[in-house]
Symmetry: C2
Subunit: 441 residues, 2 copies
């Protein structure tokens, strides 16, 4: 038999401990911010009936990007490409018994059939935070404040990113009332606006003209007026006076009070998924090497109702780890991370029995301890500890066993000290407590 490939499936990644540490740092930061805002973790299955995406996620996602197959019982299922339909389904199933507002978060994986490229993988990981049961724009303010808090928690500065905000109702008003488009034209125009930053100005105008058809002469200047507006105050009066603007202004007032400094209004922000019904937002990296959208979210009041329950209002967002890793890279924000193992016991000579007992005692005190059980030469044992990025080596030989004093060596410096068992435990716990205090600060 020929050898099997050792490579992971196309578009997916293996996470070795050094990669997993970074992912765990991202997950822990997401978790930390979500829980600080009072969100509680939930989980949903990796497989769902395809129907739940077909209904509202948009054709491209449901038909072209989903990993879909028929199970042995003849059901058409999909590996989840996103979380919003799943969490909406879960809320619908317990509509009557949940406590509202329900604040929920999850951190898990998804799959989409896409061409792998920078910032995009077929298997990817997202935080999803959603608040259910609040009609008021206070819900949007909270979710966007969390988006801002997440960026800050990763060490980003206000100028490193921008949160662009728009509103689907305003978009609908703009398409139907302001530009006078029918439903088909409106949909095409939304998609065109969505691609605006990816195509040349000329191409944008030509395609806009084509969509506008016989309304082009009057429509093109109107679109130009929109694109010229850099704030809500600059918008054409027809739009500025629409009732939705009051809601948008209220949101900006709340965000200002919450100390969010990176939020701007952007009438051209559309956001791809079909289920949004109000506020939409996207966080963009401002670094020239990495201008793509980092993540986004918005209000989707219609989704829970699809599952046979009374409708319930909802606002959510979904930061992903792939784009975030790029962001941390270009802004030099990836922290230096050590192993979760705290002590590596190097065994010198025929003292394995005593070393095993010492490892056991350290573990019983809660110290993360790896024991070298290989009987290899000293230098090989030390090399393993250093390669694994373990902060401390503990040497155990005949003398140490007799004296009950062990040499603890810092692997990142020349520091070493002879300590009793109790002192070793105390030293490591103090070290850990300092780290926890740093986290809490």
């Amino acid at each position: 038999m020929s050898a099997l490939s050792s490579q992971p499936y196309k578009g997916t990644r293996d996470y070795y401990p050094e990669d997993k540490r970074i992912q765990n740092y991202i997950f822990a930061t997401w978790r930390n911010v979500s829980e600080r805002f009072g969100y509680e973790e939930y989980g949903a299955p990796i497989l769902e009936p395809l129907d739940i995406y077909a209904a509202k996620s948009g054709q491209e996602l449901a038909n072209e990007q989903t990993y879909t197959f028929t199970d042995r019982g003849g059901r058409t299922v999909a590996i989840r490409p996103e979380m919003t339909p799943s969490v909406s389904r879960m809320v619908a199933a317990k509509r009557q018994t949940l406590a509202y507002p329900a604040r929920l978060y999850s951190i898990t994986n998804f799959m989409r059939y896409e061409r792998p490229q920078r910032g995009r993988e077929r298997e990817f990981w997202q935080l999803n935070t959603d608040i259910f049961g609040v009609d008021d724009v206070a819900a949007e303010a909270e979710i966007i404040t969390m988006a801002d808090a997440i960026m800050k928690a990763f060490g980003a500065h206000t100028e490193d990113y921008v949160i662009k905000i728009n509103n689907r109702k305003l978009i609908n008003f703009m398409m139907a009332q302001y530009l006078g488009l029918d439903a088909v034209q409106a949909q095409l125009m939304v998609k065109l606006f969505d691609r605006k930053d990816k195509i040349a100005e000329d191409a944008f105008r030509d395609q806009a003209r084509e969509i506008l058809a016989d309304r082009a002469d009057e429509g093109l200047p109107k679109i130009a007026a929109l694109l010229d507006a850099s704030s809500m105050a600059d918008l054409p009066a027809e739009i500025r006076n629409s009732s939705v603007v009051v809601e948008v202004q209220e949101l900006f007032t709340l965000l200002e009070r919450a100390g969010v400094k990176s939020a701007i209004f952007d009438i051209t922000l559309m956001r791809g998924l079909d289920y949004y019904t109000g506020t939409v937002f996207e966080v963009f990296d401002t670094h020239p090497d990495n201008t793509r959208s980092l993540f986004g979210g918005g209000r989707y009041d219609g989704l829970v109702g699809l599952f046979g329950a009374e409708p319930i209002s909802a606002v959510g967002m979904a930061p992903g780890s792939t784009t975030l890793e790029n962001f941390l890279d270009v802004h030099d924000l990836v922290p230096k991370l050590k192993s979760t193992t705290e002590i590596y016991i190097v065994v010198l000579g025929d003292v394995m029995r005593a070393a095993t007992k010492l490892a056991r005692d350290l573990r019983n005190e809660g110290v993360n301890t790896e024991l070298d059980i290989t009987d290899r030469k000293l230098d090989k044992q030390i090399k393993t500890a250093i390669k694994k990025n373990i902060p401390y080596i503990l040497f155990v030989g005949q003398d140490e066993v007799k004296s009950e004093l062990y040499t603890l060596k810092d692997t990142t410096s020349t520091d070493e000290q002879k300590l009793s068992f109790a002192r070793i435990v105390g030293f490591i716990k103090d070290k850990r407590r300092t780290d926890i205090d740093d986290d809490l600060a």
Copy 2:
């Protein structure tokens, strides 16, 4: 359009916050023990080429239980039904650069197409711990000691479970030399032994007779002698004197030194998967309501070599959360778990702006704070906090804003106190530190 079903896909579960808390408790305990033994976390993709299971996992798993489909590029892929082939693939891919012994763990989900029943779900969660690069039985001793430490970490007593240990080489010796079976007969006999506890004694003997065929007269008494043996010393001399027994005895010596009291030798323990090459073990619940196997593991030295790398020895195990939850249930070991949210701010009257600021300040100090932004009546707000199992309510009204003293109420008792902002932060952090110390202890 008719409503979509709000139920999860067959054999899978939705984890609402109260369910997720228990799952997170299990995951945290697994993580804790794994890291205490110096294992580092890794991650592998949810999809793998079907080939990697077809090679060595056994026919039933690869052909009948795997969620398999053809992707849009014509590749035959599977949602992983287990982790061992994936982690072996990963080790093979970095064979030359990993630090040995490599100690790796992961906590993630799997899918198998099975009839859902007690202790068995189609989507399930496992810890996988594996050690690579140690030929010696010290590796088995470490993994089984961890199995024991996991049971203890969940509060189990020595008598609540038993760790049955056998060795594939001994099984092979028993089938070929002792019973004189050919390869086909041996495989059938292994499967029969595997089902021994699930079928009647008569049925077992009848089926054994059929497999033995013309060797039945001499074979049946030999099998009876095996089944009568309750320890290694009781085994028929032919087996007791085989060289593999030395290895098994060495393992028991190491386990005794490590303080593992629940381990017993069981010549009838087979373990289903095809890739095991030496020691196999399984942990069984001893409670009469829940006698099934909780989890198991063993040595599988041949798997890494399948991926074109030089072979490397490996020992691992895979506790699952479904069987463990049943175990915790029947032994009354499920802890009472609170929300991750520490404070629920109840807002009285027109002070939302001040309450928002207070929530922000608490979050900046690292306190997990949920703010009621609904403007509902007092009793409805309180009810939400209690329903969510949040330990403290903080009342904020006109008086509190003016005096800067806030009432903090324990939701599980009648205790309440008026505290300044700094005192609230101090109180919650002390509370948390006490909980962390309890964990470290």
